[in-house]
Amino acid sequence: MFAAEEAVANPWIYDNVWLIPALPAASFVLILFFGKRLPYKGAEIGITALLAAFGLALIATFTWIGDIQGLEESEGEEHALVTDGGTQTVVLTAEAGEEHGPARGAPVVNEVEWFGIGTGANQVTLGSDGVEAVDGAEGEEAAEPSSGFNISIGTLVDGQSVMLLFVVTFISLLVHVYSTDYVNGDRRYTHYFAFLSLFTASMLFMVLASSTLQMIVGWELVGVCSFVLIGHWWEEKPNSDAALKAFLTNRVGDVGLLIGVTILYFAAGRSFSFVTINEMAVSGEISQNTLTIAAVCLMAAVMSKSGQFILHTWLPDAMAGPTPVSALIHAATMVVAGVYMIGRLYPVFYEGFSIAGSSINLMAFIGGLTTVGGGALAFVQRDIKKVLAYSTVSQLGYMVMALGVGAYTAGLFHLFTHAFFKACLFLGAGSVSHACHHSFDMKADMGGLRKYMPKTFWTFVIGSAALAGIPPLAGFWSKDEILVGTGAFPGTGGNGTYTIPLIFGLITAAMTAAYMTRTIYLTFFGEYRGHGHPHESGPRITTPLIILAFMAVVVGFLNMPSGFVDFLRLPSGWAHLFEDWVEPAGIASFVGVENGFTHAKPSLLLAILATGLAVGAGVVVWRYYERLYAKDPKATDYVDGPVANNELVAAGHRVLVEKYYLDHLYTDVIAGGIKGPVARAANWFNQNVLDGVVHAAARSSVGLGRFVYRFVDQGLVDGTVNASGRTASESGQFLRRVQTGQVREYATLMFGAAAVLAAVFIFAF
């Protein structure tokens, strides 16, 4: 495998990229201990740290881009894969070099030993080619390498992680600034900023993870930050319920994650390293069967973290947290962790689900289902944040679907663009609610806000348009690429014919435009329905909005198809920049897989069709509300609309309002640890039930626990010990079936047992 090996100095930032998560982590500790004594209650530390982290992320981004472009200029040069003691070992995969063109975008791994376990004889040698520990990255003391194999901690820099570094630090910075105004005067202002910092640090830690084990750590840490921030106002029960639900739902998925990582760990010859696992997955050293099982397990984790059907229910509830948190965590960054993981282990999923040349697979199906199902739910929400939450679910489905059909770059690109416009929308919603006395109810407390808060209005419209995929805004480009990538539209090529995902994608495109139009109408048009006088928010809120809106306009141009670039007679280097930067090519861990990346030929017809659908749907909704407001500018629903008149429509509406009854399924039927609504909790505590009959228990694991506890534990097991004499108690002692406390009974048991045991020993020897 080692065709060439030479030492090249690493760019400084690659060796020290660990600083990026370290800064917010330090900020967390500082805010926690000193925040309250500072003039701005700790916010300044967080913002400073984030500014520095953002600066470093920018350096990393430009270094990476510079590398890639330098590489493109010197076609065919080998590329850095691994570093060794501050120098860089250049590894060129021979086959890759010959068959797949120049290697590009290989990950730069920087690892130190974390800990070592096991020196057993069944140990398999490290499978990764040349990935070795180097010192100096994390501040951990490097223990002496034992004869066993070691588990490393380190950073992995490649296009994907650099992209997310940029997104996370950028949006986190804006959210920090925004929050200084939005949560001003909050009961736990300092605490809020501390956890914002911790979240950012954990997310960055996860993004830079070089191994699956490290990813689990980051994955869970972002989860717990999400838990804390959703439950920020924990005095109110619904908030802490939502926080619990989020955490527990994620835990369900984590079971899959733990198992999946375990399977991959052993399958890859005892390695957690992403590089090793990917290499072995593509080289066929891990059997297809194993990969499929691992991929299915990991898919469960994706479903919970990235809000895919049917584990998405926590995401809308998570809106109980402060709005900036929703923007940062539950729209732009944490929820894409699942998508990010798919990208990280793409060869595993790619081989495991046999994505190439297929027409449907589990990932594409779940993604497609989520994108349509989530979008439909957005129609019936009163709460503006819930609309956005379901929209997020829907868009995450889009991303997963894209990865499922093999459109790797398109999926990640959509992740990238979505982060900006969805953050913009969430922050916009926060701004609106700031004006409307902290209400999020569009129907009761909003309407006509266009006049009062123009900046918010316009940024919201731009964000919505980007989300709906109206050209030339960001969402259009990424969405179009996904639709093309399904390969089902005539003339696009692609590596499979994913017809169903294409249809799902088109439906979603139309739905997205429709529900966003509805949201804009309900919020900004008509007449103000709330009380008091709404006003535009302050500059610390509007500036981030404007910046994000700007990004929502421009980021799409990063990945224009070359045909379009030619059409506009732009320099050809402007085409598919994002693809060049992010997509790996010709490296050992992606051999073969990158062939399967769908680089379908963009189709003008498809673009027009999708845009037409979106615009058409938007216009329909627009007409609907125009007519409504013409009748009564304060109305929100037709009094005798289809929902009132048509039973079928009414039933459908009911299903949507009830969120497909999934919550009922979870809480009432599966119940158990997943959620504890008031009624259940009350029931839980109901001593009468606890002390009472059996039948109420069987329906839930709580009930099951109670059942087992009472009858098996206290009755059977305990009873056996406590005693034999009870069995003979034929007299009226029936109700006193608790311990008699009789020493004699214990003695009986003791002697009896001694006799039995003696017999056992006598006859056994």
Binding site: S724, G725, A728, S729, S731, R744, T748, F751, G752, A754, A755, V756, A758, A759, I762
Partner: protein, 179 residues
């Protein structure tokens, strides 16, 4: 004195079965007495049956050539412990007649356990020692030998025991003190 005679007899081949006969008599007395003791409905009677059993056991010690132990048994058990027990009986419940509820309702479990143990023990004893005999030329151990042994080899346990006795004495006084 019968014991001593039997002991003498045991030393000769012809006397062996005399000793055996004496042993079986003692054993029968002991076992029957024991059974009566645990089944009788009268506490005082039970104490008296215990007396019988202990005497019979002392008899077997004599057969085994452990005169000093036999004498100690008689002195301490029959003289001291029995008196103590009888005092106990009288102090706690001065009723000297029979009583109905001296046993538990579930005494059959106790019987079962005891029978089980007996079975297991008998089997293992039989397996282990089958027909091994006691040495025929055993002589009664002299008291002096016993005392030599106690005060040389076993001096530490002996001292420990004396401390235990003292502790028990004080303990009994403290526990039973009326205040």
């Amino acid at each position: 004195m019968i014991g001593l005679l039997a002991q003498e007899a045991a030393l000769t081949d012809t006397g062996e079965w005399i000793a055996n006969g004496f042993f079986y008599a003692m054993a029968a007395v002991a076992i029957l007495g024991g059974l009566k003791m645990v089944t009788t409905a009268n506490v005082v009677h039970a104490a008296l049956y215990l007396l019988v059993v202990l005497s019979a056991v002392a008899g077997t010690y004599v057969i085994l050539g452990a005169e000093f132990v036999a004498v100690t048994q008689v002195l301490i058990y029959l003289g001291a412990i029995m008196v103590l027990l009888l005092f106990g009986v009288m102090l706690t419940r001065a009723k000297l007649g029979g009583e109905e509820d001296l046993d538990h309702e579930q005494r059959w479990i106790g019987a079962l356990v005891a029978a089980g143990m007996l079975a297991v023990m008998s089997y293992s004893i039989w397996e282990a020692f089958d027909t091994q005999k006691l040495p025929g030329d055993r002589t009664p151990q002299l008291t002096q030998q016993v005392s030599d042994e106690i005060f040389s080899t076993y001096i530490v346990p002996f001292e420990a025991l004396s401390v235990l006795l003292l502790a028990a004495l004080i303990g009994a006084v403290v526990v039973a003190r009326r205040d």
